[in-house]
Amino acid sequence: MTVFVCRDTFEGILCGVYDGWTSGLGHDNVCLEIEDTGNVRMFADYRRVEEEDWKFLRVEEAVIRRAGRKTCGMVYRASLSREEEKADRIYRFLIYALSAGRDAAERLQIPAVNAVFQMNRSVENEANRLIEFLRFRQIAGGALLAVAAPKNDVIALTVPHFVDRMNAENWIICDKNRRKAAVHRSMGSTVTVHIPDGAFWEKLAEPGDQQEFEELWKTFCRSIAIGQRTNPRCQMNHLPLRYRPYMTEFT
């Protein structure tokens, strides 16, 4: 078994797919892994994936041409998943999808397709939940700041929604788990930046400006509930506990 070790990005994984595919060892003797996951196999030959733009582009173009743009989007979202085996699952899926054509993503009875379908679904669901449950607070200068700790790397998927909705505002969305942030400038562009540990992350806990609206929101959430229908389990189903530490109405 030869293991190709790639970086934990969409580009990294697709370069891994290229190297694995063109190694000439046969699909059954090749496997893909994300770097630094901590698991090392005993009788495997490890190779590092050399990341090159042209490799990535060739694989991406092949996926779009032979399996369609929709499938390519699905692979992209799967690559944001927190699953450690995602690189190999994507490899197995592409082996099938590139030969089966545009409907490949719908053959859920094929295990390789199902694995990517599940990852894609869980990433999509979490991105949608983040769009719902993200809470901004106003910081000095009138900018808006939101902090979240998603399981999957979904910040990038929420950005287009907020750019369309709040293009005239300055805002920052922070991913606490990955030390990443998406920063938008009013009427301008949006960038994703990596912010190392330090002062920035410590400052996030400080309260913001205009706290009266946070109080008003808490009042609203309290009085809109009907006492006779109290149903914490239903509430928990829709709004899992792990989102609540970052939501204004639960702090």
């Binding site: 719908e106 009085s223 229908r229 189903n237």
Partner: protein
């Protein structure tokens, strides 16, 4: 009646959100609108829920009354004229600031503005219009707005308000006109239906426009909805469902909401509800409503005159399937979409996935599980490649016995969700069997 002046905004919000909470509708769906440069907000077709309150209902919109003062005296309503409750009124500015500030913080998807009737329907509708105009034109708010049309208001006012809103609604409240006459003497069915018809015509006329004029807004793009109270009168489930079906068909409603009656007023004409609001009944009505809107069922397939109420132990789809066992089992690999939708345990998504997946190769039961089919229910009604999942006697009673066990537990959860009970080996599924005749006799005679 008396509105306190100089009330703190926080207190006003507390009173007017509390007064609005019995309105069920809190959806932000139906409108798709891109953001505009420099303006705040857009609208997403599917709608977005932003939070869930302690009763498990979603909070999507800032749901408030403009004022809870009201000239009417409807017996079921907390804001009736004769009730001694704190009264308050917002100003249009206050509503706008709350909406915009909440929206930028991603608390809400937009505004739901309803109101008690202040002075007259026209005056109230005018206030709602002014608020919406300010919000759209002065504050540049481009998000979702749901507004109530006040029955009896000038049609021109309703039309102008509708051009600023995404959705409008008029609440039917009670399914029959007798019920309305009894509990809401100052409202009449024809006065409620008139603005509904006007909104429907307005929406239809808007769709006729071939080239949308630039800068002009369309009339109520997200359609209209309404709500009925469940359990305040003696109306049966069949009556409620038939009315809902008529509303969907004749008034092109986007949604009909059902609201389990909460007894907020002590009135001799209102039913006493010792077990709390009829939540299971409300749940069954919503299940049936979905069956009518997405699964192609008709009201008279689910209920009939001589069987006018839903089965307590089975959801409406299982119930229907058991009464139509001659249609089952169906073959997954050949059945069409409409047939698949009628199988308990298969929903819209899983039916679509089945249709798409079986083009590639034949499906088997483990594959169905992966596609989201609930085999606990579907297994009794399906074959894969001509075989059932396990041997089942195709007999309504035998299947019902196996379905009821699961459904009973869910039904029990809905009605008694706060109670806690230790599981025991002698569990009777939380239903007490009737006492044996000997026991009943011994209680009467005093012998134990």
């Amino acid at each position: 009646m008396w509105i306190q002046e100089n009330m703190e905004l926080n207190e006003k919000l507390e009173i007017l959100a509390d007064a609005a909470k019995y309105d069920v509708s809190c959806t932000s769906s139906g409108s798709e609108r891109r953001g505009k440069p420099g303006q705040l907000g857009n609208a997403v077709k599917a709608g977005i829920c932003h939070s869930f309150s302690a009763d498990g209902r979603c909070i999507s919109l800032l749901k408030i009354l403009f004022t809870n003062q009201c000239v009417y005296d409807c017996r079921y309503c907390i804001n009736r004229r004769s009730n001694d409750v704190r009264r308050a009124a917002f100003t249009p500015e206050e509503v706008c600031r709350l909406t915009v500030e909440f929206y930028r913080r991603n608390y809400i998807e937009g505004l739901f503005l309803s109101s008690g009737v202040l002075e007259s329907p026209d005056h109230t509708m005018d206030l709602l219009f002014q608020t919406l105009w300010k919000l759209r034109c002065e504050y540049g708010f481009n998000g979702y707005i749901h507004v109530k049309a006040i029955p009896g208001a000038d049609p021109e006012l309703i039309r102008m308000t509708g051009l600023l809103a995404d959705r409008m609604s008029v609440n039917l409240e009670l399914p029959t006109s007798e019920g309305l006459r009894m509990l809401a003497p100052s409202k009449s069915r024809s006065r409620i239906l008139a603005p509904m018809r006007q909104i429907q015509r307005g929406i239809a006329a808007g769709k006729q426009e071939i080239v949308p004029r630039k800068g002009f807004r369309s009339f109520v793009p997200a359609g209209q909805s309404t709500q009925m109270i469940v359990g305040a009168t003696r109306d049966s489930d069949f009556q409620l469902l038939a009315v809902a079906e008529a509303l969907y068909r004749n008034y092109e409603m986007k949604r009909v909401f059902y609201s389990a009656f909460v007894r907020v007023n002590d009135d001799s004409l209102l039913p006493a509800l010792p077990g709390g609001p009829p939540l299971l009944r409300e749940h069954r009505l919503y299940q049936a409503d979905w069956l009518m809107r997405f699964y192609g069922f008709r009201a008279d397939e689910l209920l009939t005159e001589d069987r006018p109420n839903f089965n307590l132990f089975l959801d409406p789809k299982c119930d229907w399937a058991l009464r139509n066992m001659n249609r089952f089992p169906i073959e997954v690999n050949t059945a069409d979409y409409a047939e698949l939708l009628r199988v308990p345990g298969i929903g819209v998504r899983s039916a679509r996935r089945i249709i798409a997946a079986r083009r590639g190769s034949r499906l088997d039961f483990p594959d169905l599980k992966k596609m989201g089919v609930v085999l606990k229910r579907a297994a009794f009604f399906l074959t894969c490649g001509g075989r059932m999942m396990y041997p089942v006697r195709m007999d309504a009673d035998a299947v019902a016995a196996r379905l009821v066990g699961e459904e009973q537990r869910r039904a029990w959860d809905i009605e008694h969700r706060d109670a806690y009970r230790q599981m025991s080996m002698f569990d009777d599924g939380f239903l007490n069997p009737a006492p044996a005749p000997e026991d009943a006799g011994s209680v009467l005679s005093g012998q134990m």
